[in-house]
Amino acid sequence: MILPQIQIARGHWLLGALFLAIILDEYLPLIGRDGRPARSRSPLIGWALMIGGAGAWATVVFADVVHDMLLHFLWGDLLLAAGALELARRRGVYERPWLDYVLPLAILGCGALFIVHVEIDPEGQGAHWHLAMGLLLLVGGLLELLRLRWHRASSIPLGLLPLAAFALAVIAIPVAAAS
């Protein structure tokens, strides 16, 4: 089976919407029952990352060229590993202090892979879009890492803006490609 381009575009919309949902769930300020800011313990983000990883692996299988296979296989691994760790942490079966850094590092890693994608195929379709999306993820991941490292008590989600912009870009990129 060869996926038509319109199906690939629809996949982008779905992934963009999914990403938007999980970062809003994760980073919008949440007030706990005690009235203090709390961090989401929803397993949604863990499963969403796993589904994203499965989607990336599906792209590996259906990719038309080898470099897309290689890149998406790294992407799939990153998302699956991050999803498994987040799910285990949120379910309370595996809790370590360093797990706080898993999500920002996964976002950072995805941003780096976007940049690599553009480097491998600089004349490919929508290279400038991919570059912008990679930079948004890098900025979002870095800001969240900084927040965790130096402003742990702060509830201000510094990375939310670039990450939301990334989600909208994922959804909008097929529009730009078609115009």
Partner: protein, 439 residues
């Protein structure tokens, strides 16, 4: 900063998603991808075609279009290609019956991106996988990747089925609630599934590399779809990738949701063993008919259950760390006795299916010693024979003593030795899978 309750946050998130999904585009495009061909991938045509037609999803540069059509003997049949927009027509010289390999390289007219690929079709004959290009070596030993897939199936399939059929009933028979703790079993299964998924991925690429031709740099830009669609290795890769992802999701679910652990791990184990069919499907026995294919699969299943069961037995103590020493000892003894009851059946199935496959693949008895395939087969059978000798020692010396109430703790070392012997035998089986059978 004002915060929101969970319900408000979800309503807002959902509204954003719905709004985002309303931004519907009309189309998108990419570099030159081969969409259809005449003859198409894997087709069988009655008579030799006088031309080949390739249709791409976008225009290609006429002066840079390259197409090669090789006969089974390696003779070139293609004349200069004619390009009209996105359609490439290649006049062909006449050739014999057999499987033809088409290898192409195109440059997209809009962005100049180079793509290439290969596929095969048959003239009054079943097409086989595209033949490797001359002088192109394989950068990684494919035997290693097949071996890693065998190990992955044994760890994820054999070890988890052992847990469902041996450990669980043993725990219940000892009058304790629930299965064993599961940490080690989940870890082993996860390692196995991840190993097998990645080995399958790289095995597919390593197999495709010499088919596409050119250097590694060219291969990175090669179009891979026809090889995935027209070869059993490609079809097995497609099936096994999704199935291994499902296995990984089940294992992660078992880790995160302890209440459903046993059911999820059982499902993961069963699915892992089902995936092993892809290894038989992509191997030599497939060419020998359905019975030979099923025999090869049964051979592989028996080996996976044997190896995986032994690994699970050796690591059982780590799996039940939360229990007291005497409880661990009693559980280990119970599992050893239960496994020893089914192990002879596994060994018998392994041997019978193996003999059937050997008879089906080898053309004569003499080819056992006169062909590379036969010699590797002898080495593999020898390794299994040594492992079976050790298994017999366990069955007829250790198990009766354990049944009589003696401690079985000391047997773990010889069980581990049996695992290593079987791993060596699986390595030889992997070499065998990549060795052409004698004709």
């Amino acid at each position: 900063m004002p915060g929101w309750g969970g319900g408000s946050r979800w309503a807002f998130a959902s509204a954003c998603c719905v709004a985002a999904l309303l931004l519907l585009p009309a189309a998108a495009s990419a570099h030159a991808v081969l969409e259809t061909s005449v003859p198409e991938y894997g087709a069988v045509v009655a008579t030799e075609p006088n031309h080949l037609m390739l249709n791409y999803n976008e225009d290609v540069v006429p002066s840079l279009a390259q197409v090669s059509v090789l006969t089974p003997q390696g003779h070139e049949l293609a004349r200069s290609p004619r390009v009209s927009g996105s359609t490439v027509t290649v006049p062909l010289r006449s050739g014999p019956k057999g499987s033809y390999t088409v290898r192409w390289r195109m440059v997209a007219a809009d962005d100049g991106h180079v793509t290439e690929g290969a596929f095969s079709f048959g003239v009054d004959a079943r097409p086989v996988a595209p033949t490797p290009a001359n002088g192109v070596g394989i950068p990684v030993a494919p035997e290693l990747l097949v071996w890693l897939q065998f190990i992955g199936v044994a760890l994820a399939g054999g070890a988890l089925v052992f847990r469902a059929l041996i450990t669980g009933p043993a725990v219940r028979a000892l009058g304790r609630s629930g299965g064993s703790d599961g940490g080690a079993a989940i870890g082993l299964a996860a390692i196995g599934a991840v190993l097998a998924l990645h080995a399958a991925f790289f095995a597919f690429l390593v197999g495709a590399y010499p088919v596409v031709g050119g250097g590694v740099g060219d291969f990175v830009d090669a179009e891979i779809i026809p090889i995935r669609l027209s070869t059993h290795a490609g079809q097995a890769f497609t099936f096994s990738s999704f199935a291994w992802i499902a296995v990984i999701a089940l294992i992660v679910g078992a880790w995160a949701y302890p209440r459903r652990r046993e059911a999820l791990l059982g499902a993961a184990g069963g699915l892992s063993l089902a995936i092993a069919f892809g290894l038989s499907w992509a191997g030599h026995p497939d060419a020998g008919g359905t019975l030979l294919l099923l025999a090869d699969y049964a051979h592989l299943l028996a080996a996976a259950l044997w190896v995986g069961g032994l690994v699970a037995l050796v690591t059982l103590t780590a799996s039940v760390r939360s229990r007291s020493g005497p409880e661990r000892e009693a559980l280990f003894r119970a599992c050893l006795l239960r496994f020893s009851a089914i192990a002879p059946a596994l060994v018998a199935l392994l041997a019978a299916a193996g003999v059937y496959v050997a008879i089906g693949v080898l053309p004569s008895v003499s080819s056992i010693l006169t062909s590379r395939y036969g010699i590797v087969l002898v080495a593999k059978v020898s390794a299994f024979a040594v492992a079976i000798s050790l298994a017999a020692y366990h069955r007829f010396s250790v198990v009766p003593r354990a049944a009589a109430g003696a401690s079985a703790a000391g047997v773990r070392r010889t069980l581990a030795a049996e695992v290593f012997l079987l791993a060596a035998a699986l390595a030889l089986a992997a070499v065998l899978s990549q060795t052409p059978p004698p004709t």
